[in-house]
Each structure stands twice: as C-alpha cells, then as structure tokens.
Subunit: 279 residues, 2 copies
C-alpha cells in the first residue's frame, strides 16, 4: 500500500513509523508545508520522499491528514474533491466542525474520521516515536457516513499497530474530549503561567519540582499551533468545562479562607473517586 | 545503627527499605498508630518489630518522624523532651509552623528538618517502594538550628540512598513548596471534581482518557489525611498561589468568550517557557 502522510509531526510521523514497521506501507510519501520539517522527516526516514498534495493524492491508496484541526477543516473538502478510490483518514482532536463541513460531500464515504487517544507534549517530526499507538484507544466518529470498505481498511490498520477501536458520534466525541483531554491542557497552561508569574526564582522551581509538579505541568509544553485550533473548534464544550473547573477551584479557595478543613477533607475524598476510573 | 520509623507509610516505609538495603540500619523499629498499617509493615518486612513511641526513642540512635504534618507538629515537642544523644529527622512537606513550635526547645539541635522532594499519589505501608529517594532533592531547613553532628549524620544518610541535599530557610521552603507542589495537588483535586461532576459517563472517561489526562489528574488520588494538614499549615502561601491560578484560568476563559485566539496563542507561548525549567 502506498501512503501519503499530510503533516509529518508527532502523530503523522509516529503513524508513518508504524506503517513502515508493520509492513502495511510499501511507500510513504510526505506532504509538509514547513520546509524544515520536510527535510527532517526525510532525514529521519519517516517518509521516502516529499511531494505536493495533489500529486500525492493521485499516487497513493491511503491519505492520512495529520495537520492541526484548522488545516484539516480547510484541506479536507479539497482532498475529497480529488479522491476517487483512495481512503482518507483524518486524526484531528475535534470532530464536529470538521465532519459538518464535508457532511454533504459526494466523496464523504472515502473519509474515516479517527482520533487516536495518544500523544505527547512534543511536536514536529522529531517528536515522532515508535509504538505511540500501541495499547491506545482510537475513536472512529460517525461510522455510518463512511464506506464499509474504507472503515474495514482503517480498522485493520489501527488494529495492526496495536490500537483498540471505539465508536462515537462526533458531537459526543467533542463533548467527552473537552472533559478528558482539552481541559487538562488548559489547567496545565494556567498552572505553568501561575508558577512562572509568581515564582521568580527559576532555580527554586528546578530544585523543588518533584514528579507531581512535573506531571501536572508537562502538557504546558504543548504547541499553540496544535491547541489554539482545537480550543477554537471545541470552544462551546471547553468553556462549559472551564466554568465548572473555576467553580471547583473557587469552592476550595473559599474553604481555605473559611478554614473549613472538614468540608475540604470531604471534597478530597470525592476527588479520590477518580481512582476507580484512572488506574 | 538502630532506627525508629514513626509512621510507616509511603515515605517512612520507603525510607525503611533504603536504610535496610544500604546497611545503614541494623534494626528497624516501627511506631504506628494504625494497627492494620502496623501489621502490614511487619508482614512486608519494612520494620523488624512494632513498639510504642517512648520505648522506641529510648532504644534507638535515629528517630524518623514520617507522619502527617499535623501529627509531626503535635508529636515533635514530646519526642524532643525525651531525646538525649539521638538524632531526630522529620520529613514533613511544610516547615514553618513545625519549626516555630520547637524553636526554643532545649533539644532543638538534635532535630534535622528535611523535605525529600519525592513521593507518589499512594499512601500507607503498601505504597512503600525501593529507590524512592534515588536522584531526588532533599531540602534541609534552618540548618543553623541543628547540631553539626546531627546534620552530618542526616546528610550522610540521604546521600547514601542517592539524594542530593539543598538548603533553605523554613519560610522560603513553604513559599516555594506552595508553588511547585501544593498548588499542583489543588489543581488536580479540582480537575478530578470537575470531570466527575460534568462527565456522568464513567465509561467515556475510561475510554478516552489518554496519558495527558492521567498525568494531570493522578495527584487527585492523594490522601486527605496527608494533604489537609499541609494546606492548613501552609494556608497563607497556598491561598496566594491559588488566587493567581484562578486569575490565569479566568484570563483564558475571557479570551475564549471573546474569541481572542491571538491573545490566547501568546499566553500558550508564555506557558511554553516552562520547557526551560522542567525537562
């Protein structure tokens, strides 16, 4: 199978590695707007060569769109316009706006909308790592809008590289993703800003930062090019969860002001219930 | 050296393991108020036997206080009353109130106040793990109030088990600890509460939760018995950082409401500066 990877960053690059390793891809063509990333992707042997989008589409069997979600939104109709027998996968972290935009497209069936629940705080081709998708869940959205043969092929690809498929409609996906992924990034960005603002002694942060701090703040290293378009497309859900999160922090603040340690104790016990869900 | 571990939980138990493994301790006596924890500590061979505090103090060369900071505050004067030649280590996450309480104690010199910047979200003797302190920083506070021979002994212990010593006065310690440790726990508790409150479909959390969410929420599993007394003793600093954190989240919220993605982009770039400090 010949594959075009559009956007050879963390996700696109890691997928390229797995497609090669598993033997699923016989040729990997990269499409990359950033010349520096394009060069690094070839150097790192993530792809065999770089070419332009149109040529890549005509040449391959599978097109993977792994660009930021605003670029997916912009590119997807053009890609589908040119597609015939090929299968298109997009791997964006938001779904509703993207799938709305191509809902009526005559070639919508060739697209399989997927969200691999995998990633790190790094970006670009140098962030690509082997086995990123191993043991991770991949959401396929709005299954019924995709052609059965395209779905079969995409399921086979993800399962071959070790992922487990789950299904969701795009509206539910965006709602749940706001809770369990997007809000985590916002709290982490805000925590980094808080500490950078309040703690002028960088050496003290460095010396005292333990594993706990590092784990709550690591997502704050994430790229704004990836995340601003996600927050933009999922604004309504993210705002809803953010209101609730600020409300919870204010409850804790008020309990500290009132020295209501009994109430705060109960609140922590409630929060501990996350143990049942996240192991 | 004979050692008494008062409170055989995550920190006390892990320290017991290292003291045994390194050969520093020839006998380990446990003092533990929770009968279930006492039994498990002996079963897990963290300590050789359990006895009461007074007997343990008289018997040993080194007493490690590894109980919650409210219990340290309560026990420490009594322990120092009974101490003669022995060295006492306390390992609390707060320092100012604890050291204030024994500032004028005639045996203050036998105490070395330490904060190992190491831990996990688990507690109790079953949370004790080998090598917990390896490669971690340990803060010694108010060095000049401790006898030089006691400091030498404690430095030697921590260095033998792989830690690096740094020095700080107790007021600075509590301020910095609020920034880089205590606030992380509050954001994590609040995030867990947010998601548990808003997301009624536990299965969706379980299916969609990726490494990012897990890492921002893992501290929410932490015990209220450990953390309420920390927040209580460091209330002033924690409130100060919490005000700032809520302010940062409100800035983000307002930018989302206003759809000011340019401003939000710049904010994420500012947050990304944490890369320089946390690797």
């Amino acid at each position: 199978m010949q594959v075009a990877i559009v956007g050879i960053g963390l996700i696109g690059g890691s997928l390229a590695l797995e497609l090669r390793r598993s033997g699923l891809a016989t040729e990997l063509i990269g499409v990359e707007a950033n010349p520096d990333h394009a060069q690094k992707a070839v150097q790192k042997k993530l792809v065999d060569r770089i070419c332009c989008l149109d040529e890549a589409i005509d040449k391959v069997d599978l097109i993977v769109l792994a660009v930021p979600v605003n670029v997916i939104l912009h590119l997807l109709p053009t890609v589908l316009d040119r597609v015939d027998r090929q299968v298109v996968i997009e791997v964006g972290s938001t779904k509703e706006k993207i799938l709305q935009a191509v809902k009526q497209h005559p070639r919508r069936g060739r697209l399989v909308a997927t969200h691999p629940m995998a990633g790190t705080e790094y970006s670009g081709p140098e962030a690509a790592i082997p086995q990123l998708f191993h043991g991770k869940n991949v959401v396929i959205c709005d299954l019924d809008d995709s052609d059965p043969d395209a779905v079969e092929q995409v399921k086979n690809i993800y399962e071959t590289i070790g992922s487990r498929i789950i299904y969701m409609d795009s509206a539910s996906h965006d709602l749940h993703a706001a809770y369990v992924s997007h809000i985590s990034h916002i709290t982490s960005f805000a925590l980094a800003l808080t500490v950078l603002e309040k703690e002028k002694e960088e050496k003290a942060i460095f010396d005292l930062a333990s594993g706990g701090f590092a784990s709550t703040v690591r997502l704050a290293k994430s790229s704004p090019d990836t995340w601003i378009p996600i927050f933009q497309q999922n604004r309504h859900n993210v705002l809803d969860v953010l209101y609730e999160h600020i409300h919870q922090l204010k409850r804790i603040k008020q309990m500290l002001i009132d020295e209501d340690y009994e109430g705060f104790y109960k609140l922590i016990q409630e929060a501990n219930a996350i143990r049942k869900i996240i192991h």
